[in-house]
Subunit: 419 residues, 2 copies
Amino acid sequence: MPVEKRNPIPVREAIKRVVEQDIETEVQNVPLNKSLGYVLAEDIVATYEIPRFNKSPYDGFALRSEDTVGASGDNRIEFEVIDHIGAGSVSDKTVGPNQAVRIMTGAEVPAGADAVVMLEQTKEGDHTFTIRKTFSHNENVSLKGEETEVGDVVLKKGQRINAGGIAVLATFGYTEVPVRKLPSAAIIATGSELLDVGDELEPGKIRNSNGPMIEGLLNQFGLDGEVYKIQEDDLESSIAVVKQAMETHDMVITTGGVSVGDFDYLPEIYKALDAEVLFNKVQMRPGSVTTVAVAHGKYLFGLSGNPSACYTGFQLFVKTGVLNMMGANEKFPQVVKATLMEDFKKANPFTRFIRSKATLNGMEATVVPSGFNKSGAVVAIAHSNAMVMLPSGTRGFHAGNTVDVILTETDVFEEELLL
Amino acid sequence: MPVEKRNPIPVREAIKRVVEQDIETEVQNVPLNKSLGYVLAEDIVATYEIPRFNKSPYDGFALRSEDTVGASGDNRIEFEVIDHIGAGSVSDKTVGPNQAVRIMTGAEVPAGADAVVMLEQTKEGDHTFTIRKTFSHNENVSLKGEETEVGDVVLKKGQRINAGGIAVLATFGYTEVPVRKLPSAAIIATGSELLDVGDELEPGKIRNSNGPMIEGLLNQFGLDGEVYKIQEDDLESSIAVVKQAMETHDMVITTGGVSVGDFDYLPEIYKALDAEVLFNKVQMRPGSVTTVAVAHGKYLFGLSGNPSACYTGFQLFVKTGVLNMMGANEKFPQVVKATLMEDFKKANPFTRFIRSKATLNGMEATVVPSGFNKSGAVVAIAHSNAMVMLPSGTRGFHAGNTVDVILTETDVFEEELLL
């Protein structure tokens, strides 16, 4: 069998080809408390002001600022308390000269009043209190509309919903949220050398770590993955499984089978599916043989069987593709400059990605490879929160060099209390 | 009723009091594919080498390097192919002089052979091939144990499990993973001014956004929250609900009711529960009245009813407390230096936290407030990925100043393709 010729394309070009696909999941409504991580399918527009009414930000007394003129330590001014309202209640009284309403945090400032005196600023008597300073118009009042006016776009179409987004949606009464469906993913690990996690070891075989890792990456990203039984390197059954997976999922992620050898059937599977191969070789290490194809409006991600290469392909192409399907505005990896803290002497004919641990607690971030670095390495992934990116055409790098870093982890915490 | 006197403590001291509590959830086993986000309760130790055997990283031919000496373009050396193995298979042949075994990526290098020639480096005939360069001992061989030796600690007790951690656990055959239980949380929003999200608006009232936001924050952190019906400001029923919540959950998060006013019952609830109050006032804005207490070995987080203050309290105290309960090594917020991009002229008698958007794509990170900034603001939360922290005792800050930033969001993506 002749060796297939492949044309490696730059990483940037590969990512572009992924997002240029006009593939979007359908719009649906999800309950508010399930909407975290979804991408909004519509702008969310304020239907009323926030705050909705002039509001007290403190527990205290609402009064007329004009009545406080001239108050001082030597000249305490007395007010009569004519009503007493909790948050959520509205006083039916109108505050007149030297009158006040006792008011709780969040309650509406009553008619007539234009300032709030904090409890701590008063000396209380029976149904009266005194103050010793002047208050200005609107002092200690949260004004109607000061945060948001009617018609303001408070959340943008294409924005991923975070906890703060949920709070905004709750404020405007969205019990259901218009979003694009989260893509469902099939995960198919291929390779005759693979055992299930629970299997006893056999000579020449290894346990399948890519399947569980991909499921974990999807979960971390808020998506579910259906894990298919490991596929032996057999063409007919592999085609059947991929076809079936495509019928029930929005994308298919395979690991392994992407090389050019006799037992790597992925190219033939793509042919059988009439898939358009966007690329099958990328100018990157690890994962140069990563393949992305499209068939029947669905992505087929052909990741390497090597864990580090598989992981790299997921970070670069699957995440981007998923965000593209969800209609996200922000879908590209974040890139941060950092100082490399140890030598990395290998030449980089292709762009190199290194699972690393970035530390951001200085004005300049630093980064250090998180362990053994080779395409098949797995432990260093667990210890990484970032990937160093060394551009193609470069040679060795040294401690102290500045390098590009892609952050891959979320919720990073420190061993030390730094604040 | 006299105004309660409270003693505000520094943020750092408050966080310390939270983590000094000896509160840990029990150790349990969870299935591997559900272990994401849990904290390991034991060191994971390598029970065999990775790789387990000398392995081919390429599709090619395994041969004896000594037989390649003298090969060149003018002097191609021929090898006889004596076997053909896929990954997962082991050859029963021993490679002799000028013999080779066709071998797939991931397969074990057969006996006798000590180097692998990539397919691309050969010219193939029938059952033979020729090469034109010399190969060295162990060239293109992934050596047994080069990543991990037997006995190496590959994952540490106290480490949170990420997708890479799952891959490591899969590799070593962990179908079940020893972890500390994820704490379960009860969420109780208090306040007579609160309506449910689906309710029609009423005068003086607002919809409850804190409850859904806290649930979203917990979900984003991998935890479930049980949302209780909104509690009116009524002491007896509030005590009953908190008691019931404590019986079924590892912690109780309340919002509102933490101030010093007549309708704020939280202090009395703590008294009724015989709770130890760790602090009830912190030198921070917003959220100075945030309270954390402990009763019967469980945390009671009393967050402010103001969304921004509620959010800030969650980021600083709930996350830290949850990680403490889970036995995490890294449980403190990450702090990053960044350049403030607009003026912030207010004085800061207390440490100030501002929901902000940090951009990390330069050597120096930058940060800008993400919208209207007041304790009751909600929209700016949705647009933030970080909190600026201005230390107590400082006055105004200007564009160009360097400030501390706590990253709060995960999976940050850019609108532009930067690599």
